[in-house]
Structures are given as C-alpha cells and as structure tokens.
C-alpha cells in the first residue's frame, strides 16, 4: 500500500479554486517532486496535507489513516513533518532548543516535572538533550548548538529547519523549496543532505522546488501543477521534456 494516497483533493477560497481534483500516490521510501509555475498551488497542497487548510473536497490517507479533520499538531503526530518556504525557525531560541522543541511529543513528561524539576525530569531532559544533539550532528550543526537560531547564516537556517522537522520522526517529510536562495554549491550540498537523510532516517520525501537541476538530480517521480490542477506526472526526464510542461513554465 502507498504511504500517501491523495484522492480528488480540492480547496476553494471564495470563488478561487486554488487546488482542484488532485490525485497523488507516494510509495514508502520514495523521493517525489512537486513542481509548477508560481501560483500553481504547490504550497497550498502542502498546507492541505499538514492541516493548515481544510480541503473543500477529497481525501488524504497516510498509511491508511485519514488526515482530513485533524489539526496540524495531530497530523504531525501521525507522521507528517514539513519545512516552510519562508524559513520559520524559533528565532529567539537557541539552535539546540529549536530541535528540543520538536522532540515535544517524542520524549514526554508531565507539568509537575517541568515546574519542580523532579528526578524524572532530569532523566528525560538528558535523553532529549542527547537526541537533539544527535540530530544536530547529522546536519553538522552541533558546534552551533548554543547560538540563537536567528544568528545562523541562511543556508544553515534551512538545514536547521529540516533538522527540526526530522526530529519529530516523520514518515513523510515535506520540503517547501529547500534550495530557495541558495548558491549552486549550497544546492549541491543540500542535494547530498537530502539523499543522506532519506537513507539514514528511512523517510519518504515530497519536495517543492524550482531548481530543476535539483529536481532532475534527486527526484524519482514528479507531479506538475498548473492553476491548481495536475498538468502531468511521471519520471523526471519525461516530465521535464513534456512540451506542455515547458509551455506552462516558459509560456508559448
């Protein structure tokens, strides 16, 4: 069975049909790209998948479990994590605390532990600390653990956002333009990182990207959106040479 099964997904904002009749199946362990010109509705799809918007119609099944109607925090607990197009870090918190916050549902203890710093609290906090540093190590951010998140350079902020998403131990990771604003060298590094986390964490990845080199380089399958509807889907080389897709991107 597919990990993610989206059927006939659609949402209207007043008279605007932002996404219409979208079907999408993503197999366990796949690395899939979602592309399309600006305003095609790609981020809206992410917002639908993560419960930020409630779809007007359609179904979203993750591992056979219906996601529609769940709140974003519940969907995260079901196993979907995401990054944002415009980075959304906890900017006033330290790099380490950003990841620790994401371990919120991974290692739990009660309010009394928080208020009185009980022995149980100490034990759990130690576990949280170790896990968070482990995740930072994977992304080579460990030496910046005590920095304020907003003091990191742009590329590292992007990395931290992915690290934070992975800390929630998702089955499906949604990356919204991970290479936006990166130079070619940073993009190459990012591609390697994505490949690496996919193998290391056994996570299925769906990513939105405009950098076709990245898309062609790592995605195994592509969905193309245009004006909220699916324009094409298939293997990268087929899709990227499809005259209809080229027209949608470049015009007649």
């Amino acid at each position: 069975m597919a990990l993610l099964d989206v059927k006939n997904l659609g949402i209207s904002f007043g008279g605007l049909r932002a996404v219409d009749g979208l079907n999408m199946t993503i197999e366990q362990g796949a690395l899939v790209g979602l592309i399309g010109p600006n305003g095609a509705g790609k981020t809206t799809v992410f917002n639908l998948l993560t419960g930020v918007y409630r779809p007007t119609d359609g179904t979203i099944l993750l591992d056979g479990e219906e996601l529609i109607g769940k709140s974003p925090s519940q969907i995260c607990q079901t196993g979907v994590a995401r990054t944002f197009q415009n980075i959304r870090l906890f900017s006033q918190m330290s790099v380490l605390d950003n990841v620790k916050a994401a371990l919120h549902n991974q290692v739990k203890y009660g309010l009394q532990g928080s208020l009185f710093h009980t022995p149980g609290y100490r034990k759990k906090e130690k576990a949280i600390d170790e896990r968070a540093r482990e995740v930072l190590r994977v992304f080579e951010l460990e030496q910046f653990a005590d920095y304020k998140a907003s003091n990191l350079p742009y590329g590292k902020q992007r990395k931290l956002e992915i690290a934070r998403a992975l800390a929630t131990e998702p089955k499906l990771l949604l990356l919204d333009e991970p290479a936006a604003g990166m130079n070619p060298q940073e993009t190459a590094e990012l591609m390697a990182t994505i490949e690496f986390i996919r193998n290391q964490f056994h996570v299925t990845i769906l990513l939105i990207e405009h950098d076709m080199k990245l898309v062609a380089g790592i995605c195994e399958y592509l969905y193309v959106l245009n004006f909220g509807t699916e324009l094409a889907n298939g293997l990268p080389e087929e899709v990227l040479n499809d005259p209809e897709v080229i027209t949608a991107y470049l015009g007649e």
Partner: protein, 317 residues
Amino acid sequence: MKKYGKQILGCVAAIAVYVAVTAAVNMGVMSRQMMSLIVPVCMNIMLAVSLCMVVGFLGELSLGHAAFMSIGAYAGALVLKSGLPTVAALPLAVVTGGACAAVLGLIVGIPVLRLRGDYLAITTLAFGEIIKSVFNAATPITGGAGGLKRIPPVTTYRNFTFVYVLMLIVIVLVSNLVNSRHGRAICAIRDNYIAAEAIGIKVSLFKTMAFVLAAFMAGMAGVVYAGNIGILRPGNFDYNTSIEILVMVVLGGMGNITGSIIAAALLTLLPELLRGLSNYRMLVYAIVLIAMMLFSNSPLRRMLAEKRNMRQADKIQ
C-alpha cells in the same frame, strides 16, 4: 556547568537579601515607610515574574493581570476573615486565592486566547474592568465600593519570611518552567505559532497553560496584598495596576526573569526614595522611567548584548 553557576548565584543572592532585610528590620535602621514597602516589593516581584511568563515567554500582551490579583485578594481575604488561626488560614488563603484566580484564568483564557496581539490585549483589559464592576456590585460578599474591611494583617513585614518564601517559590517555578518541555513549547509559540503547530505542539493548550499558571501566581500575590493592606476596594485593581505590572516586565526586558525582579523592586521603591523631592516626585519618576527605557535600548546596552552574538557570528565565518 555554567547553568549550575547561575543557580548557585541565585541561591546566594536570595539568602543575602533575606539576611540583609531581616537584619535591617531588627536593628531598626529602616524608616517606617521603607519597612512598609518590604511586602509590596515581594508582591510586585511575584506579579511581574508571573506576567513575564505571559508577555515575555508566551509573547501575548495581557492587560488584565490586576483582575487575577483581585480575585485572589478577595478570595484570600474571605478565608483570612473566617476566624481560623493564622497558621492554618494563611496557607489556605494563599492556595484558595491562587486556585480561584486560576479557575477564572481558565474560563477567560479558553475563549480569549483564540485572539492574538492587540485584540487579546483589549479583551483582557475589558475583562479586568468587568471583574472590577462585579466586585463593586457584589456588596454582600465584597463590601462593594466601600471595601472589604478588617482583614487580619497577616502579611506585613513582621511576617516577611512567609512572603519572601512565597516569592521565591514563584520565581523558582517560573524559571524551572522555562527550562523544560512545556517552557520550550510556550517559547516556540511566541517565536512562530505556525511552526510550533507543525512540529506537534498543541498551541491553544499551552497558551492556556501559561495563562492559567500566571493567573494562579497573580492570585497568590493578591492574597499577600490583602493581608498587607487590610482593606480591599475594587478601585485598587483597575487597569492602572495592570499597566504598572506590565511596565515592570517591559523595563526588565521582556522574557528576562532577573530583569523583571529588579525592575519590580526598583519601581516599587522609587516613589518612596524620591519622597524628598516632594512636589517633583512624580515628574522625576516619569523621567527615570524614560531614562530606564532609553538605557535598555542604548548603544551601550546593545553593544553588551551584541558582543556575544558577534562572537558567535565570527565563529561561523
């Protein structure tokens, strides 16, 4: 290790202040006015630290803190007046006051915390005024505008130890909370609630939690107030009081517990320290406030704060 250093420093400071104040009271070097301010200082520290949790850590502007304080004060005062011996009545009053304020915090918090920013501020302000009117109207219980009189003076400077310990408890609880799973969730909501939701934090639950805890602590401070002043009038808990507490939090540097403590102590003592200036007192008070505000944003202060960040930035490059 650095963390423990800070804790030890805090303990030493707490003990030193306690010894100094007790010694000064016993040796009679303090004026009567100064002695009468000991408890209000502690009380304002409790209020400022608890509001710091909402404004500084949760990042929501609440202008109804005096209302929670008033609920605690009235509930506590009724317990104190019930005729129980002080030993039993005082702790019971503190717990009752805190609990009543917390329950009200929950009732108000659930609908109100769906709002954000200015809207939340205005709503909490209105809530404060409503509570004041209710106390004014409920004459049989609260004595109405005439006030709830003859409350046993159980939290005066003679009972400094109790008040001081209560204040320390509030400070320790809030500082503990910040360094915990719950505290991180609250701070994450402040920094970016959309991202906080996306990593599985139940935003409304943790917002309500911070709000209710702050209300509980404000309620306890209210009991201290009741036992100190001896008479409660609804007018004592208007929005001016809320704003005074807010000023302490803002001057302390939002989200800075130590800063809130220092600002609360200074601003409580300041009017008394400036008494010698007679007519110009409030004028100087205002000028000092402005000066503190300017300093907290001065190049010097910013330089000190940025120094650490600069060092970090250097290391990255």
